[in-house]
């Protein structure tokens, strides 16, 4: 900003110009004091500080996983992530599943944007490769959020990336910061955040047509839909799902190919019932709760309805592009179960 002001003072000599210059300087100064310039806003935190936050999260996550510590969970997660982890821990506890080995962050990468307007809630993105003594390494994308200066950073959404392909390449500027793309409307991107969530909600809904040309093929889109359809065609127990848009951000992370990465959540429900009651008369959940998970108590049921949350990371092509929306990471969890008698 100082270079920009200096240029004007050298060029303008007339009274009118001087007055204009004065006004410009005042406006620019006010904008600078308010921290509200859109050209180069200051960073919320440094990438080094962000990595330290991720490491601290990993320590908390280790306690959550190994000790099922809900107090720590509430300190490190919020929103959709907290809802799904809480439900997952309760289901595992109920089914008597053994506690897993502590996952360790083998690799951590962060994409930290400059300060948004308003400055809070602030966000940054992390891609973590986790490994443990009992699982193959897996990669996760997590979005951290700080609601106010006085509150801790928490993860509001997290999803597992597709195996064996490189993570999405977030564009980082020369200073090491990520650029955000406004996803409130379709001015910058082919689909707004809201439209993307609506599109995906309809796409995963089993009542709708299986294909949508706007969505790219992949394991978490066409693959998932085909898998679910094949299961219903081959097995007596039917599972029919429907989804609505849940929480989503309206700022996406610019990727090096011009598209943008957005995290969003879908809320859904799934009805489970026998196809032909002459063949399978009822749904039986045995004492080990292996069949339908720890949220469904042992018993014999006519049908089961499970509420679910699906968190997705999607790449949205730029405006005027003909490229497709791509699901690059996904995590889905049953959060509540209701049963009906046979």
């Amino acid at each position: 900003m100082s270079v920009w002001r200096f240029r004007f003072s050298l060029r303008d000599t007339s009274v009118l110009s001087t007055v204009s210059l004065g006004l410009i300087i005042v406006v620019a100064t006010v904008l600078c004091i308010g921290g509200s310039t859109s050209r180069q806003p200051p960073p919320a935190l440094s990438p080094v500080a962000a990595i330290a936050i991720v490491r601290s999260y990993a320590n908390g996550w280790a306690r959550v996983v190994s000790e099922r510590d809900f107090t720590v969970l509430n300190q490190i997660q919020s929103g959709a992530a907290l809802a799904t982890t809480s439900a997952e821990l309760k289901a595992k506890e109920s089914a008597g599943e053994p506690r897993p080995e502590v996952p360790r962050p083998r690799e951590v990468a962060v994409a930290v944007p400059r300060l948004e307007l308003p400055p809070f809630p602030a966000h940054f993105l992390a891609i973590v490769t986790w490994s443990s003594r009992e699982t193959d390494p897996y990669r996760e994308v997590l979005e951290f959020e700080q609601v106010s200066r006085r509150t801790p950073w928490r993860v509001w959404a997290t999803a597992r990336l597709i195996d064996n392909i490189p993570p999405p390449p977030v564009a980082i500027d020369a200073d090491g910061y990520a650029a955000l793309v406004d996803a409130r409307d379709a001015e910058n991107l082919r689909f707004s955040a809201r439209a993307s969530a609506k599109l995906l909600g309809a796409y995963f809904d089993d009542h709708h047509a299986p294909d949508d040309p706007a969505i790219a093929p992949g394991p978490f889109s066409t693959g998932l839909r085909k898998q679910r359809m094949a299961a219903n065609q081959n097995f007596q127990i039917q599972q029919v799902r429907q989804y609505q848009p849940g929480a989503f951000r309206t700022a996406a992370y610019r990727l090096s190919d011009g598209s943008a990465l957005l995290l969003l959540a879908l809320n859904g429900s799934r009805q489970v019932y026998p196809l032909d009651r002459q063949v399978v008369s009822a749904i039986i959940q045995r004492p080990g709760q292996q069949g339908f998970g720890g949220l469904v108590p042992p018993g014999t049921y006519g049908s089961i309805t499970l509420q679910m949350t699906m968190m997705l990371a999607v790449t949205i092509p730029p405006a005027h592009s003909t490229r497709q929306l791509r699901v690059v990471a996904r995590q889905e969890q049953d959060t509540r179960a209701t049963t009906s008698p046979p």
């Binding site: 063949v279 045995r286 080990g288």
Partner: protein, 354 residues
């Protein structure tokens, strides 16, 4: 490949320089012949041909892999083993046969016909028969995550065809083993005597120790830690999951136990930067006993595996075949433990007992 060729055509000086560097051995650090999708129908490059004695054999090996993968894709997608008969034997045939039979019998959705996106081949010097080579194959499909397989191919005699004799699906998000190739492009297959000289142990011992570990896990209530193997998904992770399954089954009045057997199939050892990669195979018999009430397989065979005919049973015996890729360190390594980096298994036979 095309742009490179046109560039060298326009700039003979550049091409000469590249060839001179190749002749001087400047490219010898490349680990293996990597043949991408676009290189399938042509030789890798002029440079590659001039620098690697192994190149014709690497090209032949890549051709064998492509033909095998085509047959495999067809067999898995139609759920019939017939297309694989001329392409597989040994552990590979049993493993694929089990997967296909299970899918066919139980109406599992057909496997995706994964197409090759990348092949790495590691060919030892052709000194005697049977000849062997190792391939690392990345296979993709628009609807699935890319999958990486290690496949051992064997040619029993001069007139015999190359066949896949062993395969394993490699661990996700894990770098491939760093297989050493010499300046001519050949990998080193380690005979048992060489294994004992260069490495902390040999393939026979690794196979036995693996069975011992899995047997020990059967006899304890908590998953044991192995002093011989590093804890990974394919050792500690597997026995921990088995323990949990046994406990949950017991709640339903079902007892599960397994005994491990020597598969009596040949192994394979290939020299890596840190030691060697072993391909081993074991067999397991899993006996499921229905203690509380018998297993009643209904007329529609909905209740249990459809390889079990309708009827009432007190026990079912599942015969498994499992392949393991195990990295073994060199003698004198600071961590002498073996690391299981991948495993695959399939049920090769199901027998129900009244």
């Amino acid at each position: 490949m095309q742009p490179w060729r046109s560039r060298t055509g326009r700039h003979p000086l550049w091409a000469t320089l590249v060839l001179a560097l190749a002749a001087a051995g400047c490219f010898h650090s490349e680990p293996a012949a990597k043949l991408g999708k676009d290189q399938r129908s042509e030789q890798p490059s002029v440079v590659a041909q001039s620098r690697l004695t192994a190149q014709p054999l690497l090209d032949e090996a890549a051709g064998v892999v492509r033909a095998y993968w085509q047959a495999r894709g067809l067999a898995f997608s139609i759920r019939e083993a017939a297309p694989l008969r001329d392409h597989e034997d040994g552990a590979a045939a049993s493993l694929s046969g089990g997967v296909i039979e299970d899918a066919h019998a139980n109406g599992n959705p057909p496997s995706q016909n994964l197409t090759l996106s990348e092949i790495h081949v590691y060919v030892p010097r052709p000194e005697r028969f049977p000849r062997v080579f190792l391939a690392a194959v990345t296979a993709t499909d628009p609807d699935t995550s890319p999958e990486i397989y290690l496949v051992v191919f064997t040619k029993g005699a001069r007139q015999a065809p190359w066949k896949a004799s062993w395969w394993v699906k490699y661990a996700n998000n894990t770098p491939l083993p760093s297989i050493v190739v010499d300046q001519d492009g050949f990998a080193t297959q380690l005979a048992p005597s060489q294994q004992r000289r260069v490495l902390v142990t040999d393939a026979v011992t690794v196979e036995r120790r693996l069975r011992d570990y899995l047997t020990q896990a059967e006899e304890t209530d908590t998953p044991p830690r192995s002093g011989f193997f590093t804890d990974t998904a394919d050792t500690y992770g597997t026995v921990k999951a088995n323990e949990a399954f046994k406990k949950q089954s017991a709640q339903n009045g079902v007892a599960v136990g397994q005994s491990l057997k020597d598969a009596r199939l040949p192994g394979f050892a290939c020299l890596t930067r840190d030691g060697a990669l072993f391909a081993v195979t074991i067999r397991a018999d899993k006996l499921v006993g229905f203690l509380a009430s018998p297993l009643v397989q209904d007329a529609n065979q909905i209740q249990a595996d459809r390889r079990i005919p309708p009827g009432s049973y007190r026990a079912v015996l599942y015969r498994y075949l499992a392949t393991y890729a195990i990295q073994v360190p060199r003698t004198g390594s600071t961590d002498p433990r073996a690391v299981a980096v991948a495993s695959s298994w399939s049920v090769t036979a199901v027998t129900a007992r009244t």
